[in-house]
Amino acid sequence: MERSIQFTLNRRPVQLKTDDERTLLWVLRTDLGMTGVKYGCGENHCGACTIIVDGRSVRSCMVPVKFVEGKEVMTIEGLAENGQLHPLQKAFMEHGAVQCGFCTPGMILKAYSILAENRQPSREEIIKSMDGELCRCGTYNRIIDAVQAAAGEMKGGTHHE
């Protein structure tokens, strides 16, 4: 149904008029210019489109735009604040947890959601939580190192507090 939908995107209110059944991924990428949200498969297999909705990770290829009505949405573009990179972003850079960079936004945001629930995850816990996030370049071990380093940096608090 074509109608007006409002939500918060990267701390700013947005309002758009569109068919509310449209897939959130494409609305974010096309209508709202958030091209950091990546299309990798469109069928819940890879995690490249992962975003944060009300603090939890959501695969934006799997939900219609109406799902986020009235909610707080964060994409990778909203993770750094006031030009300050989030500890996860810094840790990914420092640990070389990036190659082609296509899975990176989804990886970082998935890790963000994990750290919100488990402040010092073990290697095994990270593997278990992130096993559905795919990287073809093979950066997995460095991502694990980066997530643990960021967890240490955040010292149990969240960056945005």
Binding site: C100, G101, C103
Partner: protein, 702 residues
């Protein structure tokens, strides 16, 4: 595209770039390490094609190479900074733009450092010498009193007398001639190369600002989808677009059996193409993933072969013979970024943003598809989200260009994951037959090797064997022949198959005669450089001598990939109930000559190891004739976090006696034999077919 090789083209080049330093230069040939005769085109000889110094002293480096995760955006900048004597941070890379950058054959074959590196370094060295000449005039000092450091030319004896590159540039256009080409620096003198410079693409990639082809936007652009046949070789019989036409704002275009839709929204274009009803005639082809190897072995094609010694003589002196065949499947590239392109066709010219490994080549392919002169097609390559050989093909850009021409608007095509699997040019399924023999002192005395449809890269026997025949049947790229669909280069093309076969077979022989696989290799190797790498790997791994199968699950492999030497060792565990394999540890020693960016090299090696475990353990394209069964990540299983070995240790074997060599492909090509050999050591079972899935291994464990 023009190469800026002639004066007229040079003027165009200067006009395009605006003000800055232009030192026109034309003396002897500027060809370092290029494969003459292999390519029609060569790198331009004028170093102005590769770099430009701005008035602020910043350096723009132009290259036809592209960045797809391998890190050359950083390592090339290091190489230029090293020779030009500028700070690494002052170099900005402009990559893969056919209008601005010098021609390049493509980013593949681990050739950037090895083949293009010396060309770029020479350009930097020549520019540095010309700047010293200019500084000598400006400072009124003899050239031999001057030294170039950090983007300045200084008096060696009085550092206060100096002038910056930017000042020397000064918006002037000066023609200069050098009498002699300056030599490239010796690796021992490297200051910028050999350092783990931070990757310059990372900040954009962690903030989401990095642009890939699918992220490019133009005013008035549309999103396109092209109707895909259900099978390769299928012929369109009937098509009905009525339902698709009902979608608001949709436009359907047709040119023969090319049927596309364009829409202002990508999701609606996808929906519309899904509403097209089409009937196809599918060719009768019964070959499938279970029968393909038999077909390969029975398909006639031309053999190319090399011989050394006399095989019959070798057979006569052998006391033991070994016969085996090895098989590898079709493997998908499966980059996370699907093939994407944005084409803007306007009249007789076109600009196409495309995720490609071959911008030069894409230009003529697009031009041909839409009837333009290739000089009028500009390819711009943004970041590429993984290539692995698969993005040398640009079917998506051709689709986008055709749609743009027909629709009269810029059109972006982003392949769905299903299209990505369907249109992929897979690593070709292949087979290898080996007949070999050893004498009473366990020396390999003959080696009769025959590879079918993988190509001949890395098919050489690297051991010291007196009587050898190596033969390669059929080509490996381009499909046709026995392949029911397209095949192409896949990270280390041909070598993944050839090294799996050779290094498995070495272990088969060692096990049969009861010798530790490392000792057996050392007994048959005479290449001192390789022996050094073997020892480096064994030291780090703590290799314990033993007659396989020891039950420990340790395996090794050694190889030479286009001049880069690799020795890898692995420890695996095999679950005897399920047949599943867990790799606990891999030590990977690599001698690639002087290393430009050590941390970047380690990242490439670790990544290749993990990617390689995919084709060892789980990846295989299932198909029936031209119908591809695996069209998603649910059934085509690439490595996940849980697959990664807990420990991947890299040993960069220092070697300044050779020139810098390739890094990104060598670490993947030995993975098959490495794991198969470790599985044999764990279980006593020799797996001759990849991937070693639980389904294949389990029945043999009982």
């Amino acid at each position: 595209m023009s190469e800026y090789g002639t004066p007229i083209q040079r003027r165009e080049f200067m006009k395009l770039l605006g003000s800055g330093i232009y030192i026109l230069f034309s003396t002897g040939p500027f060809l370092y390490g290029q494969q003459r005769g292999f390519q029609f085109r060569q790198y331009p000889e004028d170093f102005n094609a590769y770099l430009r110094i701005g008035e602020d002293g910043s350096v723009a480096c132009y290259t036809g190479k592209i960045e797809m995760g391998q890190g050359i955006i950083t390592s090339l900048a290091q190489m230029l900074a090293e020779e030009l004597e500028v700070p690494f941070t002052s170099v900005r890379m402009i990559m893969g733009d056919t209008k601005l950058c010098p021609w390049d054959s493509g980013t593949n074959g681990s050739r950037t450092t090895k083949i293009f590196g010396p060309v770029l370094r020479a350009a930097g060295a020549e520019a540095r010498e010309v700047l010293i000449q200019l500084a000598a005039e400006h400072l009124q000092l003899p050239e031999n009193r001057l030294i170039a450091v950090d983007g300045e030319v200084r008096d060696k004896t009085d550092a206060s007398r100096k002038v910056g590159y930017g000042f020397l540039a000064g918006g002037k256009s000066i023609e200069r001639h050098l009498e002699n080409k300056p030599p490239l620096k010796d690796a021992d003198d490297f200051k910028v190369c050999g350092q783990s410079s931070p990757r310059t693409d990372f900040e954009e990639k962690v903030t989401g600002s990095a642009r890939f082809a699918g992220d490019m936007r133009l005013a008035g652009m549309l999103y396109g989808k092209v109707l895909r046949p259900p099978a390769h070789g299928a012929k369109l019989i009937v098509v009905d677009t009525a339902a698709a036409q009902k979608i608001a704002n949709v436009k359907i275009v047709q040119d023969g059996d090319f049927i596309g839709v364009v829409h202002p929204l990508p999701d609606m274009a996808e929906k519309a193409v899904g509403l097209i009803n089409a009937e196809y005639e599918i060719p009768d082809n019964t070959v499938n993933d279970k029968t393909i190897h038999e077909l390969l072995l029975n398909t006639e094609a031309r053999d190319s072969e090399e011989r050394k010694g006399d095989l019959e003589q070798g057979r006569n002196i052998a006391v033991q013979e070994f016969d085996a065949a090895y098989f590898t499947p079709y493997v998908a590239h499966a980059p996370l970024e699907t093939h994407s392109a944005l084409a803007d066709v306007k009249g007789d010219s076109a600009t196409v943003w495309v995720g490609t490994q071959r911008p030069f080549g894409a230009d003529s392919q697009v031009a041909q598809a839409i009837g333009l002169n290739s000089d009028n097609v500009r390819i711009i390559t943004p970041y590429v989200g993984g290539g692995f050989g698969g993005k040398s093909q640009i079917g998506q850009a051709v689709q986008a260009a055709r749609l743009s021409k027909m629709a009269g608007s810029p059109v972006q095509v982003v392949w769905s994951r299903e299209e990505e699997f369907f249109y992929d040019t897979f690593m070709p399924a292949a087979a290898v037959k080996i007949n070999s023999g050893i004498d009473a002192s366990n020396r390999i005395v003959f080696w009769d090797y025959h590879v079918f449809f993988a190509g001949n890269r890395s098919y050489e026997c690297i051991y010291n064997v007196p009587h050898v025949r190596t033969a390669s049947r059929g080509s490996s790229f381009g499909g046709g022949g026995p392949h029911p669909f397209g095949t192409g280069a896949w990270r280390g093309p041909g070598s993944n198959t050839n090294i799996f076969a050779r290094e498995s077979h070495i272990d088969v022989m060692a096990a049969k005669v009861g010798i530790d696989p490392l000792e057996f290799r050392l007994q048959n190797l005479t290449d001192e450089r390789m022996i050094r790498v073997v020892k480096a790997a064994a030291d780090r791994f703590g290799w314990e001598s033993g007659k396989a199968p020891t039950g420990r699950g340790c395996g090794m492999v050694c190889l030479d990939y286009l001049g880069t030497y690799v020795v890898a060792m692995a420890k695996v565990r095999v679950d005897s109930k399920s047949g599943s394999i867990q790799v606990d540890r891999i030590v990977h020693a690599q001698d690639m000559g002087p290393v430009i960016n050590p941390e970047g090299a380690r990242m490439q090696i670790e990544g290749a190891v993990i990617m390689g475990l995919g084709y060892c353990l789980s990846e295989e394209v299932h198909f029936s004739g031209g119908t591809i069964m695996d069209l998603d990540f649910g059934s085509y299983k690439i490595p996940r976090f849980s697959r990664a070995p807990k420990r991947i240790e890299t040993v960069l074997v220092e070697n300044h006696a050779i020139d810098p060599s390739g890094c990104g492909e060598p670490p993947i090509v030995g993975m098959g034999a490495l794991i198969a050999n470790a599985v044999f050591d764990a279980t006593g079972i020799r797996m001759n077919r990849l991937p070693i899935t639980p389904e294949r291994l389990k029945p043999r464990l009982t």
